[in-house]
């Protein structure tokens, strides 16, 4: 039985961004398809449209010649389209079996038999009666896959499935996927990891900035050709000159702890490190391991013990962000749209968020709009923000331009230390290059950076020293030239090296 899935002219527009621009694709069962693209290329939007989570503005989807009207995830399920998301949708405290039957209206008994036979067929071994929280990431993913298989899907979509898996689990997953494909299930595999595409897939569709760039046979491609298609331009390689780092200590963190009352936050456990002048300390890790909490503690959004943070011989652990800025520390948080800037406010108003006493934005409690405007114009020209209208609402800036504005706002006073968290997340290559060059320049001017990032390549490129955060604990601090991405991978997964 052949399955044919056809996407015709699908368009989805968000304010300020075209997520999918007239995308047409055709898939046939028996093959494994890769959907490749950078963060923000539009591949997640496309699969969310296929799984009924997002309704497209225009375009049609046909499954075996039938026009599908997918208004909800339930519609997708009814039409035999199964989807395994990057983030699992499982109830941690319920048992595996309860999780599997939760959205099914079949009889418990018959379902149990069905699940058993599926597990036997594909060599899955999972205890159905233990709570999901006791499972490893790979096992949880299998539960998600079984949940799709129960409905005997014609199409199975996997969204970045290996980001949480170990090597071993990844190869197991690939075996299963190949088996499903042989049995006639159409597999669409979404990723930005090129090696996996070469290893697993038969055909590859590349997306860039919402547009479909190419569809080709894997056998006609290699790693480099795919990379260039994905990125769209030859990457200018930025090389950081080995700077002469001084031995003057700028910031020292001692026995820093943070215990959260919120069960969804990560506790920080005995953090110790120091950064010298002109140095960039990179902090790597899989997201959700305490990076956001560490950033907040460093920025002063979460206060800590006064003596735990020593900056230029001042103890600043109990100061709020505004007070810390007076010591010439700058912050660039991860979330551009919800934290670092307010999209509904104008550019010059967003500039006023970073308010030093010496900048005189507010005199005696009154707004000094003239001063703020002058300052904003300077930021826009010095940091290449692509507009000359400081009355523009920030929501109309692209991600890259907004990040340049934020970086500019933080850097124009030439602070001694910049603490940034995923500064290039979701940006296009040009903007990433610009931000990276800016960060390198900071170090060249003998100023320091703490770079918290989930992008290992970025860390290896920019850092002088690297540490890994895992479950709220920092690994030992290593010199960047001794570190490889393999070593970081082990540490990020909670392993030990020598």
């Amino acid at each position: 039985m052949n399955t044919n899935l056809k996407i015709s002219n699908v368009t989805k527009i968000y304010p300020g961004c075209i997520a999918n621009d007239n995308v047409s694709l055709e898939f046939n069962s028996g093959k494994i398809y890769a959907l490749l693209g950078e963060n923000g290329a539009g591949k997640s939007t496309l699969v969310k449209i296929l799984s009924g989570v997002i309704i497209p503005d225009e375009g049609k989807i046909h499954l075996n010649e039938n026009n599908l009207q997918l208004n909800s995830p339930l519609d997708a399920k009814k039409n035999d389209i199964g989807m395994v998301f990057q983030h699992f949708n499982l109830f941690e405290t319920l048992s595996v079996f309860e999780n599997l039957i939760i959205d099914s209206d079949e009889q418990r008994e018959s379902l149990r038999e069905k699940i058993d036979s599926i597990m036997k067929k594909y060599n899955f071994s999972i205890d159905l009666d233990i709570p999901v929280l006791n499972l490893s990431a790979g096992q949880k993913q299998k539960v998600e896959i079984i949940r799709c298989l129960i409905r005997s899907p014609k199409v199975l979509i996997m969204d970045e499935p290996t980001s949480v898996l170990t090597e071993q689990e990844t190869s197991e997953l690939f075996l299963s996927l190949k088996k499903f494909s042989e049995e006639g299930i159409l597999i669409i595999y979404i990723t930005h990891k090129l090696k996996e595409v070469m290893q697993l897939c038969d055909e590859v569709a590349v997306m860039r900035r919402g547009k479909l760039v190419s569809v080709s046979q894997i056998k006609n491609e290699n790693l480099e050709s795919l990379a260039n298609k994905m990125v769209g331009q030859r990457l200018k390689t930025i090389k950081k000159k080995k700077a002469n780092i001084s031995s003057d200590q700028l910031i020292k963190i001692t026995n820093l702890n943070f215990i959260s009352e919120d069960p969804f936050e990560t506790n920080l456990n005995d953090i110790n490190f120091s950064v010298n002048k002109g140095e960039c300390l990179g902090i790597a890790g899989i997201s959700g391991n305490g990076q956001s909490e560490l950033f907040q503690v460093l920025s002063g959004e979460i206060l800590s013990d006064k003596n735990s943070i020593e900056f230029n011989k001042n103890y600043i652990g109990d100061l709020n962000p505004q007070e810390r800025r007076e010591y010439m520390v700058a912050f660039s948080p991860e979330d551009r749209l919800e934290q670092a800037a307010i999209p509904q406010m104008k550019i010059f108003e967003n500039v006023a968020l970073n308010n030093f006493k010496s900048s005189n934005f507010f005199n005696n409690g009154l707004i000094n709009e003239k001063k703020i405007r002058e300052h904003s114009k300077k930021i826009i020209s010095d940091f290449n923000v692509n507009t000359d209208n400081i009355d523009l609402k920030s929501q109309f800036l692209s991600g890259g331009n907004l990040q340049k504005l934020i970086m500019g706002r933080e850097l124009i006073t030439s602070p001694d230390l910049l603490i940034c968290f995923n500064p290039t997340w979701g940006l296009d290559v040009g903007a990433i290059n610009y931000i990276h060059e800016t960060l390198i320049k900071i170090n060249e001017n003998n100023k320091s950076i703490i770079l918290i990032s989930t992008d290992t390549d970025e860390l290896l490129k920019l850092s002088d020293k690297i540490s890994v955060i895992n479950k709220g604990k920092l690994s030992k601090i290593m010199n960047a030239d001794e570190v490889t991405s393999e070593k970081l991978g082990v540490l990020m997964g909670g392993g030990e090296i020598d």
């Binding site: 920025s299 919800e338 934290q339 006023a352 707004i367």
Partner: protein, 370 residues
């Protein structure tokens, strides 16, 4: 933002004539037009209700909205009702702009009335120019004290200000009830639940002979001007704006969130307290059980109808004040219960919230496919 219902997109069968499209950004013009649309829809719906009740819709609406303000007395009554609404709504806009949901203005008004009334009673047999300022100040302080309770509980104990401020309304009303029945009741009052009359020195001066409109309106106008200045010209106003959009950003910018929460509650409480003073030292002249016909609650509608903008609030308070007057006229001339006024207030808020949909979505006429 929620996605619109898919089936709404197709209003006339298969051939779509109208499509509902999300706006790129909330429309500024629509932002100020929807209140007018809401008032219009309220009139239509109100007319329909009157029709169903067996009245001639236009005549009934005329009794409700035109007859009450057709003469000087009516206009004076309109301003009399609009004054406390405007004053309280201005105060509330400080809270609402910064994401603090104080819905207990009625309680703050009552408590302000109690404190200022208590002070006025101390001077009941004295005259002097200094009495009125003291009484007014006492009312503002009373309102601030009462508003500080939900503010402090919110900042230091993480309680929900909506619940606390609402519950405190009933507490303040019971305190007032106890005072006017018990310790403060008029010794010569034949056990009526009311206090002595205040002395003339504790009364707000009347603006015109024979009309009830009093000097309290200056307090309201001053509040409008001061609030406009604070919102648009000061660091405090900027902080409120930022906090209103995103508390995360306010924290990142290093604004002292707790101080600001307490401050906006105090401002809001002071305004409500002043409204209470205006009532008891203006038209009422003593304390009794009913110092306010729910001005504190109705002002929430006024604040939103006025889009939390000082000038908008002036207009909104006039519109909503008519519903109070209209309800009374309608009761007298048409024997409709005066609670119809609340029905109209409810409808205004309902239609305003409903038409806010237009802020985020627009109708697009795409014509027949044929």
């Amino acid at each position: 933002m929620r996605l619109p219902l898919r089936n709404l997109e197709c209003l006339w069968g298969e051939e779509k004539l109208i499509k509902i499209v999300k706006r790129d950004q909330p429309s500024r013009a629509i932002f100020f037009l929807t209140p007018i649309l809401a008032i219009f829809l309220t009139l239509v719906a109100g007319g329909l209700i009157f029709y169903i009740l067996g009245f001639k819709p236009f005549e009934a609406l005329k009794f409700f909205f035109i007859v009450p303000i057709a003469d000087n007395y009516g206009l004076s009554e309109l301003l009399l009702k609009a004054t406390p609404l405007c004053l309280i709504a201005i105060g509330l806009s400080f809270c609402f702009k910064s994401n603090n949901w104080n819905i207990g203005a009625e309680g703050q008004l009552t408590f302000g009335a109690i404190v200022s009334g208590g002070v006025a009673l101390l001077f009941y047999d004295q005259e002097g120019f200094y009495i009125l300022p003291i009484v007014i100040l006492a009312g503002a302080i009373g309102g601030m004290l009462y508003a500080s309770i939900p503010a402090i509980l919110k900042t230091y104990f993480n309680t929900n200000e909506i619940l606390v401020s609402l519950m405190l309304v009933y507490v303040s009303k019971l305190i007032l009830d106890y005072l006017v029945v018990g310790p403060w009741s008029n010794p010569e009052g034949f056990n009526f639940p009311e206090t002595r009359q205040f002395s003339d020195s504790a009364r707000l001066p009347l603006l015109f002979e024979g009309l009830r409109i009093h000097a309290g309106i200056y307090l309201a106008l001053a509040a409008v001007v001061i609030s406009w200045f604070i919102f648009y010209k000061t660091f405090l106003g900027f902080q409120m704006k930022v906090s209103g959009f995103s508390l995360k950003t306010a924290k990142y910018a290093g604004y002292k969130g707790k101080k600001m929460i307490i401050l906006v509650f105090l401002i809001s409480g002071a305004c409500a307290g002043l409204a209470g003073v205006g009532e008891i030292t203006g038209p009422i002249g003593q304390l009794h059980r009913e110092v306010s016909p729910d001005y504190g609650f109705t002002a929430i509608i006024v604040a939103f109808l006025g889009r939390l903008h000082p000038v908008g609030i002036i207009f909104a308070s006039l519109v909503v004040a008519i519903t109070y007057l209209g309800a009374e006229t309608a009761q007298i001339f048409m024997q409709i219960p005066k609670y119809t006024g609340q029905v109209f207030q409810g409808m205004i808020l309902f239609f305003l919230l409903a038409s806010d949909y237009l802020l985020f979505f627009k109708f697009k006429f795409i014509g027949s496919k044929k």
